[in-house]
């Protein structure tokens, strides 16, 4: 009986092929096996959202997904937002409004916001609050994040 799994998936546009422990979560594999440490670990029970990534277009808690479940999937992490080094509109807006304080929750917030804007390009403040409710921030009051998402939505929409 083997408890390893042969995983093939795409992370930030790059094909990754590796053998992993079947019991490892997507978060474990991203951080420890691939070395993409931008995705953060905090509660590992799906409450804080620090581990949020986008899998096949949907935001998910990578701490609650076995990496094996991502076999064949297309995964986007915070490192994939600015592939050419040029910040995307959301990242820039988070800087402009000052939403990133200690920054630990920011990758999760960015991925949640990104998933929201993909589905709802012009969200209302209520929709933004709903979208960000799964990513806890202890530093800021969420107000600057909300403004950032609104600003990025305008930027992209215009």
């Amino acid at each position: 009986m083997t408890d390893t799994f042969h995983l093939e998936f795409t992370v930030n546009g790059r094909l990754r092929v590796l053998d992993i422990a079947a019991s490892h979560t997507l978060l474990d594999v991203l951080r420890d096996d691939i070395g993409l440490t931008g995705t953060k670990e905090c509660c590992v029970v799906g409450e804080c959202g620090a581990c949020t990534v986008i899998v096949d277009g949907r935001s998910v808690n990578s701490c609650l997904m076995l990496a094996a479940e991502a076999d064949g999937a297309d995964v986007l992490t915070v490192e994939g937002l600015a592939p050419s080094g040029q910040l995307d509109a959301l990242q820039q807006a988070f800087l402009d409004t000052g939403a990133a304080q200690c920054g630990f929750c920011i990758p999760g917030q960015l991925m949640s916001a990104r998933a929201l804007l993909q589905r709802t390009p012009h969200p209302t403040p209520e929709q933004i609050n709903e979208a960000l409710a799964g990513t806890l921030c202890r530093c800021a009051g969420y107000e600057q994040s909300r403004q950032a998402v609104l600003a990025a939505a305008e930027e992209v929409g215009s």
């Binding site: 422990a21 079947a22 019991s23 799906g46 959202g49 949020t52 998910v60 997904m65 949640s112």
Partner: protein, 286 residues
């Protein structure tokens, strides 16, 4: 997490064969939002984990078939939230699905998983009870249906025999039940509810109330006196009838989320609110 094997069958038959082969050493994986936590905490230590998401038949799908709404096993909460038929015919289910965890959780958590975990606080159980849902259960012997009221048994317990699995949940569409879902939490953001409650009324004047998180399982109770569903009946007239419906509640004395007195007091409050919304909704469909 203890090591295990991960298997991804592509048909229900394969999955059933694996279940048969590994018995209680196997665990089914749908969305994983509960299972991964159980594995990490070693509350469960299966030798094999059988992922159902590779099975074509179980792929996310909400479809109308023979006067029933069929929700496949891999359908997630986010699918329910957005489905137009669910929104129109089963709004209480959409409301319950929309408050399960965060967006990220709802993108993974399945309706079937929510029920099969047997949590007394599962948000979707009360609306499914009110709407009279049935579980479609597959086993090597074939398929059977079981009403959800007979399916949920107690904390972590459902009426699923060895070698059986749920492949779909079906909701009858031949009668109109106008229903509303509400719950009690400690904060507005995602939370496990201290009370889950759904109330449905129909044109015949029957009121169905289902409530959870205040006992070992969610209970379904029915009032056919017509008093509750009557838009003209006074608050005072309804109060005792409503209160009687909650006799089965046995809220935990040791829970951290809310004390038993408070929960008991909130049941009729929430019940009256959901009832009003349900009556309004019935008025609109009529």
């Amino acid at each position: 997490m203890q090591a295990f094997r991960y298997l991804r069958p592509s048909t229900v038959e394969e999955a059933l064969a694996l279940l048969e082969e590994h018995g209680d050493k196997a665990r089914l994986l749908a969305g994983g939002t509960d299972l991964v936590i159980e594995l990490r905490n070693r509350w469960r230590t299966p030798e094999v984990v059988i992922d159902l998401k590779g099975i074509e038949e179980l792929r996310p799908s909400i479809r109308v078939e023979g006067g029933r709404l069929v929700i496949s096993a891999a359908t997630v909460m986010a699918d329910l939230e957005r489905d137009p038929v669910v929104a129109e015919r089963f709004p209480a289910l959409a409301e319950a699905a929309a408050v399960v965890g965060s967006v990220q959780i709802r993108n993974r958590a399945t309706l079937v998983g929510n029920i099969c975990n047997g949590s007394p606080a599962a948000d979707t159980t009360p609306p499914l009870l009110v709407y009279g849902a049935e579980m479609v259960i597959a086993s090597p012997k074939g398929r059977r249906r079981l009403s959800i009221d007979e399916f949920v048994l107690g904390p972590g317990k459902v009426a699923l025999g060895p070698g059986e699995m749920v492949v779909a949940i079906e909701l009858p569409m031949d009668r109109t039940i106008a229903a509303a879902y509400t719950r009690l939490t400690r904060r507005h953001g995602t939370d496990l509810a201290s009370i889950t409650l759904c109330c449905g009324v129909d044109a015949s004047g029957t009121t169905r109330v289902a409530y959870g998180s205040v006992g070992p399982r969610a209970w379904l109770v029915v009032d056919d006196t017509g008093v509750l569903a009557d838009p003209a009946a006074s608050r005072e007239a309804k109060a005792p009838v409503l209160a009687a419906l909650f006799a089965k509640a046995t809220p935990s004395k040791t829970s951290m989320r809310a004390g038993p007195e408070y929960r008991a007091a909130m049941l009729p409050v929430l019940g009256a609110r959901a009832l009003n919304t349900a009556i309004e909704r019935l008025g609109r469909t009529a």
